[in-house]
């Protein structure tokens, strides 16, 4: 899944990055040097405040919500486990992002297996509420001789605020659970490998709503998107609305000009 970015969000990110860089720069150089620092920062790409995007991908998985292993957006986590285990990871998703989790299970050697198995991928939000998948094969059966199973789950786009009685996805931590839903008893405990990758698609302001959580769900788990959580003040609706206002002004001028005809009427004398 490509990490498509809308122009609005790109702008927001640039602004955010510049602000963060400005803050860091000011701390380091002090007030006297801010002019030099700002030009230097503008010329070179701003160093991300948390260089966590380049952490090594996790090679283990947790076995419960409490022990879930953190994965960055767009990072591929791997794990080796015994079939029948429940594997947990967690990743952050911010408002306006639509997460997709893909998983690939490399099954135990076909020779050691005794029948077909069914594998399943579940995604839970920061309140441990199961989230439905909009698209994707969340559960799939593997024939006895199959080598791999691929699963995927695309969540609904996260919104910044929702009614308490809805289970709409909110910004925060999301938990991934991967397990065998059914397998022959004789195949329990055989070694398998799993790969999991959470990616997000930026949906721009299409799902922007008013209101905002004070703290993202599951904030205690300590995971957050590279570059931090969005402030909630930016939405590309500002661009659309301002653009609409400009268009309206231009159209207004055009309309006014239409009624005026071509310039000043010739019969009106000069200097009146």
């Amino acid at each position: 899944m490509p990490n498509t970015t809308y122009p609005g969000n790109q702008l927001m990110r640039t602004v955010r990055k510049l602000a963060a860089a400005g803050l860091a720069g000011a701390t380091l150089t002090g007030a006297a040097l801010f002019g030099a620092a700002s030009s230097a920062l503008a010329d070179s790409p701003a160093p991300s405040p948390s260089a966590s995007a380049h952490d090594a991908a996790p090679t283990e998985a947790g076995t419960a919500f409490r022990t879930a292993v953190a994965v960055h957006q767009g990072q591929q986590a791997t794990a080796s486990a015994s079939s029948g285990d429940y594997l947990y990871w967690m990743f952050p998703a911010d408002a306006g992002q639509r997460p997709t989790v893909t998983a690939k299970v490399t099954l135990p050697e076909a020779a050691s297996r005794h029948g077909a198995s069914t594998w399943r991928l579940d995604v839970y939000d920061g309140l441990r509420r199961r989230q439905p998948c909009m698209y994707g094969m969340q559960s799939r059966s593997a024939a006895q001789d199959a080598a791999t199973v691929e699963l995927s789950c695309t969540l609904r786009p996260t919104v910044a605020w929702a009614d308490t009685w809805s289970t709409d996805p909110l910004p925060g931590t999301y938990y991934i659970r991967l397990t065998a839903l059914s397998l022959p008893d004789a195949d329990r405990g055989l070694p398998f490998k799993a790969e999991v990758e959470p990616t997000v698609l930026d949906t721009g302001g299409a799902h922007a709503v008013d209101g905002k959580l004070a703290t993202p769900l599951g904030a205690k788990s300590g995971v957050e998107p590279d570059g931090g959580w969005a402030s909630g003040r930016w939405t590309d609706r500002w661009l659309w609305t301002v653009g609409g206002g400009l268009l309206a002004a231009l159209a207004g001028v055009a309309g006014y000009n239409l009624t005026r005809g071509r310039g000043r009427p010739s019969r009106v004398p000069r200097g009146v």
Partner: protein, 427 residues
């Protein structure tokens, strides 16, 4: 690019102006993203329980005896145990070679006590082992739980065996569930060496009863790799829940602060807990119920926030079927800010966790199913005055409408001014 440069310069100037005042505050705010803000963790404890029964003589793992494979794996594991882990080794069936079942079924002892590891001593102790007696898994697990007693650390038993328990009627699976129910955060991982169907069933049951994992071992490297993985897993810091006991009614329910709690809930039972929420705060709660034994295939869980007068505020519920480790749900309850900002009277919210698990015939319902309750109280959300973000619009229809409105306004304005000129000229 020029705009961006200007923007950066502007931001820097702004920040520099306020730097002295703002930065200390910003520093403290971003300094502590520690998960759960827990103090230094107690050293995690691991007890490796090794079967040294007569059947370990069988030479079917990579051409070597099961015992030799286990010894080799232990040596590799002992070399790579993380510094902070307190490791112990317990054997079962290592000493009594006789036929007396009563004596044979008590044959378990701590080979190396749980504590800071001396690798050489531990390896020497393992080297002396020779396959001997019976397979008293139940008593060995009880002994291992005893070894791990004390402190508030995470505890893990790694049981390595090649056969089922030969000391019935004490069912090791029941033993495991009882150990888990003592609320001492103990996980039992089981490894079966070339297991048969009965062994597999028993080891799977033990692992599931405590939230552990079961592995079937066919090769030596697989054994050492798995044990290493399990020991490393024990070393990972994790939030340790606090045991609590909910009650059937709200009045007598225990008062909980934000944190992580465990409890045990019987089949189709509900339990209540009380939490205080100040005006302008949001209560967040998640409950999960573990499936630590065979239950009927369809089940559910419900978490309700209820006022002290019994009015339901909000609920979270989830149902499912089939194989699972747990079923969980959660809820949010933002309490509206008080009209009077000095009003700091907390509201007591009652959290009710109920389940709709049911057990088939012959399934023990005691102790209850493990419940994990996560409670958090955070600042309330910003309320929405409009569904759309800041009341702004978006899309081509919006642009078209605004442009058309502008055009019409321009036309009207133009006509009016023309009409005014005409009127002025006439006069």
């Amino acid at each position: 690019m020029i705009t961006r440069k200007r923007l950066a310069a502007g931001v820097c100037a702004l920040v520099a102006t306020f730097a002295t005042g703002i930065l200390p505050a910003a520093g403290t705010a971003s300094a502590a993203p520690q998960p759960d803000g827990q103090p230094a963790q107690a050293a995690p404890k691991v007890d490796l329980v090794l079967d040294v029964s007569g059947s370990m003589r069988t030479a079917d793992i990579d051409g070597k005896s099961r015992m030799a494979a286990a010894k080799q794996a232990f040596n590799e594991v002992l070399d790579s145990v993380p510094q902070e882990v307190q490791l112990g080794i317990r054997t079962l069936g290592a000493n009594y070679p006789g036929e007396d079942r009563k004596v044979g079924c008590k044959d378990t002892r701590a080979l190396y006590p749980v504590g800071p590891l001396n690798r050489t001593e531990a390896k020497t102790a393992v080297a002396t082992l020779a396959p001997t007696g019976w397979t008293p898994i139940g008593p060995a697990l009880q002994g291992a739980a005893e070894d791990l007693k004390g402190g508030d650390a995470t505890r893990r038993i790694v049981l390595i065996t090649d056969g089922e328990d030969t000391c019935q009627p004490l069912d090791p699976c029941e033993v495991a569930r009882d150990i888990a129910a003592q609320g001492i955060h103990l996980t039992i991982d089981t490894l079966g060496l070339i297991p048969d169907a009965k062994t597999r069933a028993q080891l799977t049951c033990i692992a599931e009863a405590t939230g552990g994992t079961y592995t079937s071992v066919q090769h030596t490297d697989q054994l050492s790799g798995k044990v290493k993985q399990l020991v490393d897993r024990a070393a990972d810091p994790v939030a340790v829940p606090v045991a609590t006991t909910g009650t059937a009614s709200c009045e007598s329910a225990p008062q909980l602060k934000p944190g992580l709690y465990t409890d045990r809930e019987k089949f189709a039972e509900h339990r209540s807990y009380k939490v205080d929420v100040l005006p302008g705060q949001e209560l967040r709660a998640s409950a999960s119920i573990g499936m630590d034994r065979q239950t009927n295939p369809d089940y559910g869980v419900m978490l309700r926030a209820v006022t002290v007068h019994g009015r339901e505020i909000v609920r979270g519920s989830e149902a499912g079927d089939g194989r699972t480790d747990l079923i969980s749900t959660g809820l949010r309850y933002p309490k509206a800010p008080a009209d009077d900002s000095d009003d700091k009277t907390p509201e007591t919210v009652c959290l009710q966790v109920s389940n709709s698990f049911s057990a088939g015939p012959g399934v023990k319902t005691d102790p209850g199913l493990p419940v994990e309750l996560a409670i958090d109280v955070v600042n309330g959300p910003d309320h929405a005055s409009d569904v759309a973000s800041f009341g702004l619009g978006r899309g081509w229809w919006l642009l078209g409408t605004l442009a058309l409105t502008g055009l019409v306004a321009g036309l009207v304005w133009g006509w009016i001014s023309r009409w005014r000129i005409a009127v002025w000229r006439t006069n």
